[in-house]
């Protein structure tokens, strides 16, 4: 392990009283004095500001960067309109997921946001797989997320964002330089992700935090917010051993890339992934609502009955949901146990506790469509 890196907002986090923890090679705020539970509820009621500068920002240029990137992802990008963003995942030859990412069409290039822990590997993967593209890693910009029902009104004080809808992207000039804004996030709330020059990042964050509705939110609440929204955490809920079909991410693979589509296949692992579209997979990612108050955390083994000896799956994320006021988990179970409403059992400290397979998101999302 090398030295931990710091984002451009490190000093501000300390000033705000954050508790810092190592995360994906960075020193990041896990919580502020408000605490995880209140930060979570504040984001749902007003607006939360997150430092996500540890994530990788990449620009892809070339004659046809969308067509080129389609060789690495099972997602339709050629039809992605200028000013629009789409969720995607890099797959490997076995049909597993190398990382999940956001891809935005910004006219003459694509702008990508990738996970912090995967960014070096992703960049190497693109440089190797896309010799017809220039892969530019953006090192001089921070990334903030502003999430919650008050996010639009808050950011509108700084840049004209009110006309954007979910998954729109725009470059907007502001007192803090050009902002690369997308109307998206990782909480299930309406909100924005904002790429800003490092030199302006702390000033922008302070301007947003000066608005009454906006509070700083750490990684702790970020995790419970995304789990309530049913969103995957790479490394927990999806990884190289899970395929997009197993992960219940079929919605992210457009018809044109599936069997019978005009650009079917042509991405790593297509044989397995397309076969799973036709035949189903043997296991599936599902939501779970434990019937007692005990959270079923990542690693909890799942069983079909109270006394079965062979597990049918494992929890990959689990926590208490402050907004749903109940514990919640997601995990993989064999397909025969994946139907909504199925009762299964989690082994929590040697006790078999009931849980019900549930639809996700656990709390309805409030994206501005």
């Amino acid at each position: 392990m090398g030295e931990l890196k710091r984002t451009g907002l490190y000093d501000l986090h300390i000033e705000l009283g954050a508790k810092m923890v190592p995360f994906a090679g960075y020193e990041m705020p896990v919580q502020y004095p408000m605490g995880v539970m209140k930060e979570h509820l504040h984001t749902r009621a007003y607006a939360g500001l997150f430092d996500v500068s540890h994530m990788g920002q990449v620009i892809l240029r070339g004659d046809d960067p969308a067509g080129a990137l389609e060789r690495l992802v099972p997602v339709a990008l050629k039809a992605l309109a200028d000013g629009r963003q789409r969720y995607a995942m890099f797959t490997n030859d076995d049909g597993g997921i190398l990382d999940d990412l956001m891809v935005a069409n910004r006219g003459d290039h694509l702008f990508l946001v990738v996970n912090a822990a995967c960014k070096d590997a992703d960049i190497a993967h693109m440089r190797a797989g896309l010799p017809d593209c220039d892969v530019e890693v953006i090192e001089d910009r921070a990334l903030l997320a502003l999430q919650g029902p008050a996010a639009e009104a808050a950011l509108a004080q700084i840049a004209p964002v009110a006309d954007m809808t979910f998954m729109d992207v725009a470059v907007l000039s502001s007192d803090f330089g050009d902002l690369w804004v997308s109307r998206s996030g990782y909480t299930g709330e309406d909100g924005f992700e904002i790429s800003v020059e490092n030199s302006q990042a702390a000033a922008l964050a302070k301007a947003l935090l000066a608005i009454d509705a906006v509070a700083p939110i750490g990684l702790g609440a970020r995790d419970s917010l995304r789990l309530e929204a049913g969103l995957c955490l790479y490394g927990n809920d999806i990884d190289t051993t899970t395929s997009p079909v197993e992960a219940a991410l079929e919605w992210a693979v457009q018809k044109v890339r599936r069997t019978g589509g005009d650009r079917a296949g042509g991405f790593p692992g297509a044989d397995r992934i397309l076969a799973e579209f036709d035949q189903g997979s043997s296991r599936r990612r599902v939501g779970l609502l434990p019937e007692t108050r005990a959270p079923m955390r990542a690693g909890t083994e799942l069983f079909a009955t109270e006394d079965a000896t062979d597990p049918i799956g494992t929890v990959t994320s689990g926590a208490y949901g402050p907004s749903i006021e109940a514990p919640m988990s997601m995990g993989y179970v064999t397909t025969e146990h994946a139907a909504t409403g199925t009762i299964i059992f989690g082994d929590v400290r040697g006790k078999r506790l009931r849980a019900k397979v549930a639809d996700m998101p656990f709390r309805p999302s409030t994206y501005k469509r």
């Binding site: 605490g35 539970m37 702790g220 108050r293 005990a294 959270p295 208490y320 402050p322 514990p327 400290r349």
Partner: protein
């Protein structure tokens, strides 16, 4: 009131010891969302893990500070585990134990010593 290095407090009440966790411990744990308490009537040994506290961050174990029998648990914590964050050294006690050996009490700290211990 006495304090352990495991951040528990013990208070004598009618011949039994009332046990909870300290305000300092509650603050370190963060928002408590679930408490699993032992069964009344259980015979426990000192340092046995008898309570599980789940906070928004993680699960933690609470060790029995004494040998003895659990004679009462706090039903409030099943309904409102967040009480641990509000009143750790008052209403949010965990269990009452009828001790069979009080000698470990000599090793436990008074409030001043505990404050020094947590710095």
């Amino acid at each position: 009131m006495k304090f352990t290095e495991e951040h528990e407090w013990l208070r004598e009440e009618d011949g039994v010891m009332v046990v909870g966790i300290t305000e300092h411990a509650a603050e370190q744990l963060g928002d408590v969302v679930f408490v699993e308490l032992p069964e009344v009537g259980t015979e426990v040994s000192k340092d046995e893990e008898i309570v599980v506290i789940e906070s928004v961050k993680a699960a933690s174990d609470i060790l029995s500070p004494l040998d003895g029998e659990i004679v009462e648990v706090n039903p409030m914590l099943e309904e409102d585990p967040g009480k641990v964050n509000e009143d750790a050294q008052g209403d949010a006690w965990f269990f009452k134990i009828k001790p069979s050996d009080l000698s470990p009490m000599d090793d436990y700290m008074d409030e001043a010593a505990y404050k020094t211990f947590i710095g």
